[in-house]
């Protein structure tokens, strides 16, 4: 992380679900190549925040600029932006009617209009990268949860996006599969890609995070480098939360 160029900039972001105030006056900047880990209790707005980053949810007020593009409902540039912002979901969300290989090539082919041969080549490369080259022709339902999530990561990688958002990528996995997914994510760190990861895997966070973020009830409570975050968080709430999850 050399040049500190902002790639995601949120200022005064507010988000409502009907009367419910889900994000409250959020200010946050993610820099190019930065690895940011967001944690906080369930329902604190973590998913909502990163889903705003690629326009799966729309903020109601404030300003959000991602990769030089202003994000707002009805923006003509949002489709283009989403090609640059990959997302990995808690529930994998693989396309069940397509094979693993087709899951990986459909984006590049239909969205980026890349030829099939090249798309397949890239897809196989990324399947290698997530260590499941032999599963290319299976359907998602034939894979274990850990394998499915690795395919989902590969699907995002195939779009060669500059930013990757992870929404609790290991929360739906059986414990013995968590590490295979985290390992793949750790390997991505060296690629220089910008990563925003919502997770409670604090071992992973210590290893890769440049910045730790703690959210509660729609507020960002704490933003600090991991050394400080884990040893001496400035807020009492954050300390309590860490005690709770690190106790396990």
């Amino acid at each position: 992380m050399s040049a500190r160029t902002p790639i995601i900039e949120a200022t005064n972001l507010d988000k409502f679900y009907g009367p419910f105030h889900a994000l409250k006056n959020i200010d946050i900047t993610v820099h190019q190549g930065e690895k940011m880990v967001i944690c906080g209790p369930s329902g604190s707005g973590k998913s909502t925040l990163i889903r705003c980053f690629n326009g799966l949810e729309w903020h109601n007020s404030g300003k959000l600029v991602v990769d030089g593009v202003e994000v707002y409902q009805g923006s003509k540039d949002i489709l283009k932006l989403r090609q640059e912002v990959g997302m990995v979901f808690q529930q994998f969300n693989l396309f069940p009617h397509l094979t693993v290989l087709e899951n990986l090539t459909i984006g590049p082919m239909k969205v980026r209009k890349i030829g099939q041969a090249e798309a397949v080549k890239t897809a196989r490369q990324y399947l290698d990268r997530v260590h499941i080259p032999e599963q290319a022709d299976k359907y998602p339902a034939q894979l274990s949860g850990g394998q499915q999530q690795r395919v989902a990561i590969a699907r995002s990688l195939c779009m060669e996006s500059r930013i990757m958002l992870f929404d609790e990528p290991t929360s739906a996995l059986d414990p013995e599969m968590i590490n295979e997914v985290l390992d793949v994510m750790v390997e991505l760190v060296d690629t220089g890609m910008t990563m925003v990861v919502v997770t409670h895997e604090m071992g992973f966070a210590r290893k890769v995070a440049d910045t730790m973020v703690f959210m509660e009830e729609g507020h960002i409570i704490e933003v600090s480098p991991p050394e400080q975050f884990f040893t001496n968080p400035s807020s009492e709430r954050c300390r309590l939360f860490l005690d709770q999850i690190l106790a396990h």
Binding site: L56, L79, G86, F89, F95, S156
Partner: protein, 293 residues
């Protein structure tokens, strides 16, 4: 079979007896009181007739009608499917106006008697369309040609082509609302995460539907869609009201000219039953096969 008989109770016998008495009574009324003369032996001739002059068999009224019913049902299904997909997608649109329009169309069809709907579609839409496209003249031209066999195979008598097209359009418009509901249910049965994943790799709404949502929805709606096809075949009888020469219309014609009221209607009922019941059995079997696979 003997197993079945063993399982019958006295109540079942009572019900059977009531049914037998009921039909026996109707039989006696028709046979005795009305002094009706059954002429079943004439019916086959109205299915496949023998042309003594040309010395060859030809499809007579009932078979002609059945053929037309098949053609109309197939074309109308294809058209209804296309319209139904548009309607179903419109029902799930993010745009409120589009959703409301599709909803209004559905509510109209649900709350107006089918007979009235058919007349309205006929006079307001399909007639205008046929006039606008000048289909009358076009089809008469083809009817006069010598080698129009291929046309006749697909569309029956070419002089009646505009009427057939009317029937197809009216029937398709009528069924499209129900196909649309099936499509909507299919789309809504796909988990939200699928659309989100599609959008997160930059797909447009159209690509999302085309590559991700509809292919999955279609697998789910195949059984209700097959049922709707059978329903459409039955519903096709209603377009006899606008003089489309399908099975029911031909039966009316036959009854008018031959006075074989009961034979003709029973035969026609049997045709519809065999086709619809047969299809439902076939679809059920295909569905079972697909489940196993």
């Amino acid at each position: 079979m003997s197993n079945f008989i063993q399982r019958l109770r006295w109540a079942d016998y009572l019900i059977l007896a009531v049914i037998v008495v009921f039909f026996g009574y109707i039989w006696i009324t028709i046979d005795g009181t009305l002094n009706y003369k059954w002429r079943w032996h004439l019916i086959p001739n109205y299915i496949i007739g023998w042309h003594s002059g040309r010395e060859e068999y030809f499809a007579n009224l009932l078979l002609q009608g059945l053929g037309a019913t098949f053609r109309i049902s197939i074309y109308a299904s294809v058209l209804a499917l296309a319209l139904g997909i548009i309607l179903g997608v419109a029902r799930c649109s993010a745009n409120l106006t589009i959703r409301m329009l599709a909803r209004t169309y559905l509510e109209f069809l649900r709350n107006i008697p089918p007979v009235v709907v058919v007349f309205i579609f006929f006079f307001f839409l399909s007639q205008q369309l046929i006039d606008a496209l000048n289909l009358e003249r076009w089809s008469r031209g083809i009817a006069r040609q010598e080698d129009n066999g291929i046309w006749e195979f697909f569309f029956g008598e070419m002089r009646r082509f505009p009427s057939l097209i009317s029937g197809v359009i009216v029937l398709a418009l009528f069924e499209s609302a129900f196909v649309g509901e099936i499509v909507r249910a299919g789309i809504q049965s796909i988990p939200k995460g699928q659309g989100e994943a599609a959008r997160s790799i930059g797909m447009s709404r159209f690509q999302e539907l085309r590559y991700i949502i509809l292919p999955q929805a279609f697998k789910k709606v195949l059984p209700p869609m097959a049922n709707q096809f059978i329903t459409l075949i039955k519903d096709s009888a209603i377009i006899s009201l606008i003089s489309v020469q399908e099975l029911t219309f031909k039966t009316v014609e036959l009854v008018a000219s031959s006075r074989m009221i009961f034979e003709a209607w029973i035969t026609t009922a049997a045709f519809y039953f065999i086709v619809c019941f047969g299809l439902s059995r076939i679809f059920a079997r295909l569905e079972k096969g697909a489940e196993k696979a």
